[in-house]
């Protein structure tokens, strides 16, 4: 009894001074990384501009003027294209279309993949082997070809293309979630929970889902970067966003046809895609580092 009381007195004095856990702690660690912060701000600015496109775009993006291929000016901030569209206004609309399309593909992939992964990891056995065989097969197949095959079957269009693309991303999510589920379900705290009498649903809800959230977010951000590139490629080939709508990829395609006249029309949308993709990856890396436990503490533990 006395030993316990003594110990407590000593414990209170050596409480480490650390901020709270969870998203707040993650943020405080993320904030310290300069590259990741720059990436985050950049993405936020572009997303905001794209969302507010109708309010802030100086011209109607579908408006056709008589100024063909005019260079940047105070009227046309980024000049006009071969049809006489204002490039800046089109860029805003195009970025929005590209972002929304990527979001659709990744959203579908993440929700489908998470369900598959949960089922596979939690149920195990026959369901697991069947689902994993299928994801193996899909994974062996390059994403762009998958999207093209679906577009080939269902016809061109942004929704079809993104459904195809989501199939390509799904196995990645499924495997990630399955791996996490398998790792988490072996953890002592899940076994302790089972000993307490918790049922499957409780464990999934209380332990598994919270613990797979952070790797899932990282995966979503990385996939967004890739989806943006893939959507660009599909639009460039004329398989995704169809005219009169526009996306960054289709702007590039338009620009390519006038490559002999001006480089501006391929540079602008290309740079925007590259910046966005780089930033999504940088944010994902930043979160991963913020989550990482390879800090000094871990080092010292292995040292002892």
């Amino acid at each position: 009894m006395q030993a316990v009381a003594l110990d407590r007195a000593a414990f209170d004095s050596d409480l480490p001074h650390q901020p709270a856990h969870g998203w707040r702690r993650l943020w405080s660690r993320y904030r310290r990384q300069r590259t990741a912060m720059v990436a985050l701000v950049t993405v936020l600015v572009i997303v905001l501009a794209a969302l507010l496109a109708p309010l802030i775009s100086p011209h109607d993006p579908t408006m056709v003027t008589s100024d063909f291929l005019s260079p940047p000016s105070s009227t046309y901030w980024l000049g006009t294209d071969a049809t006489g569209h204002d490039v800046f206004s089109r860029l805003l609309v195009g970025a929005r279309a590209s972002l929304l399309a990527s979001l659709l593909a990744v959203g579908l992939a993440a929700s489908g993949g998470t369900l598959i992964g949960l089922a596979s990891g939690w149920l195990g056995g026959f369901v697991d082997s069947l689902l994993m065989r299928c994801t193996d097969l899909v994974m062996a197949f390059p994403g762009l070809l998958m999207a093209m095959a679906v577009v080939g079957a269902l016809g061109p269009g942004v929704v079809n293309a993104m459904i195809g693309l989501s199939f390509a991303f799904m196995p990645g999510f499924a495997r990630l979630v399955r791996g996490q589920v398998l790792a988490v379900r072996e953890e002592s705290y899940v076994e302790a929970s089972r000993v307490m009498g918790a049922r499957g649903g409780w464990i999934v809800r209380k332990h598994i889902v919270p613990n797979i959230m952070s790797p899932l977010v990282v995966q979503i951000l990385m996939s967004l970067g890739f989806a943006l590139l893939a959507e660009g490629a599909l639009s460039f080939l004329g398989l995704s966003v169809q005219p009169p709508s526009t996306s960054l990829g289709s702007m590039l395609q338009d620009g390519f046809s006038t490559i002999n006249e001006t480089a501006r029309l391929i540079l602008i949308p290309g740079i925007v895609i590259t910046i966005l993709a780089t930033c999504f990856n940088a944010i994902a890396d930043g979160i991963r580092d913020a989550l990482g436990r390879h800090e000094l503490g871990a080092l010292m533990e292995t040292q002892a």
């Binding site: 097969l137 197949f141 390059p142 070809l145 080939g152 061109p156 490629a233 620009g255």
Partner: protein, 315 residues
């Protein structure tokens, strides 16, 4: 040991190929519209359509048609293209070398650049060199291939006029012309592939360099070159090999777009035509061919991995 493993893995891909063939065949059944219409064109008379339907066994139930189709595939008959009315198999045979050489050259380029970069980074993570290369690698990974292609055309064809912008010359016709036409597409594809390789190898090296056995090897007084070149590299190569294998598949996929931009008469170009013309025998043929290639590559990767890793080899 290795032989038994190889046979086992070979047997394991048979069901995979079977599932693949079903999936490919299914594309034709879910495709909207009447295939006979697509085959015959818009001006076809009802009689012509009926005749085509009979020829193609379109009235049979799907499983019967599948068996029929599979029988053809096994004999090397992939059907006749709706667009060109030529044998799909022959067309694929003609176009395959273009895509394959493109993929192979870019793979070589990627290895040539990616491997040294990854090792240089992995040996001293956190150094100035490493941080500089990290930025380059992540930029390379985020640059869309099709955009990079247009930039290369812009610089080397439009501005400098050193190389032709688009088109293709067969190697047998003019080796120099072939090289001139293939170099830009190959570089385009190699950039992302090389960056991915560098990144994987760096991660592998960083993990391995901190591993206990590397410290133990240094404790035995082995030279840094030996520790890195023998012990670290072989262990870091294991995960990297897997990625290289996957990359070959991605090179084929990337080739689809790149071929379109550079107007190379490869499989990708064929696939895109097939999609635009709703030419499903051609599409099925390409998908089947590419997927088979990828599965075979994965098999090779698996075996290489086993060869590198005694734990797998002896299992």
């Amino acid at each position: 040991m290795m032989l038994r493993l190889a046979v086992r893995r070979l047997l394991a891909i048979i069901p995979l190929l079977l599932i693949l063939s079903i999936a490919t065949f299914a594309v034709s059944t879910i495709m909207p519209g009447d295939p006979s219409q697509a085959a015959a064109g818009d001006q076809a008379t009802p009689e012509q359509l009926q005749q085509i339907r009979d020829e193609m066994h379109l009235t049979d139930p799907a499983p019967v048609r599948y068996i029929h189709w599979l029988g053809g595939v096994l004999h090397g008959d992939l059907g006749v293209s709706f667009g060109s009315h030529r044998s799909v198999a022959a067309e694929i045979g003609r176009r395959f070398p273009v895509t394959a050489t493109l993929a192979l050259i870019s793979l070589l380029l990627a290895l040539l650049v990616g491997v040294p970069v990854g090792i240089a980074q992995g040996i001293k993570p956190g150094s100035r060199l490493d941080r500089g290369l990290l930025i380059a690698v992540s930029l390379a990974l985020s640059t869309p291939g099709f955009w990079l292609a247009t930039l290369l055309v812009l610089v080397f064809a439009v501005e400098l006029q050193w190389l032709p912008a688009v088109g293709y010359v067969a190697f047998t016709e003019s080796p120099v012309g072939w090289l001139q036409h293939i170099i830009l597409p190959a570089v385009t594809l190699a950039v992302a592939a090389g960056a991915e390789m560098a990144r994987q190898l760096r991660t592998g090296m960083v993990d391995v360099v901190q591993a206990d056995f590397v410290r133990a090897a240094r404790a035995r007084g082995l030279s840094a070159r030996r520790v890195m070149g023998k012990h670290a590299l072989k262990n870091a190569a294991m995960p990297a090999v897997t990625i290289v294998g996957l990359r070959v598949g991605y090179l084929f996929a990337g080739a689809v777009i790149i071929e379109q931009i550079f107007q190379l008469p490869g499989l990708g170009n064929y696939a895109l035509q097939a999609i635009q013309q709703r030419d499903y025998p051609a599409l099925q043929g390409v998908v089947l061919a590419v997927a088979t290639i990828i599965i075979v590559i994965n098999l090779i990767v698996d075996l290489t991995y086993a060869w590198l890793n005694p734990k797998v080899r002896m299992a």
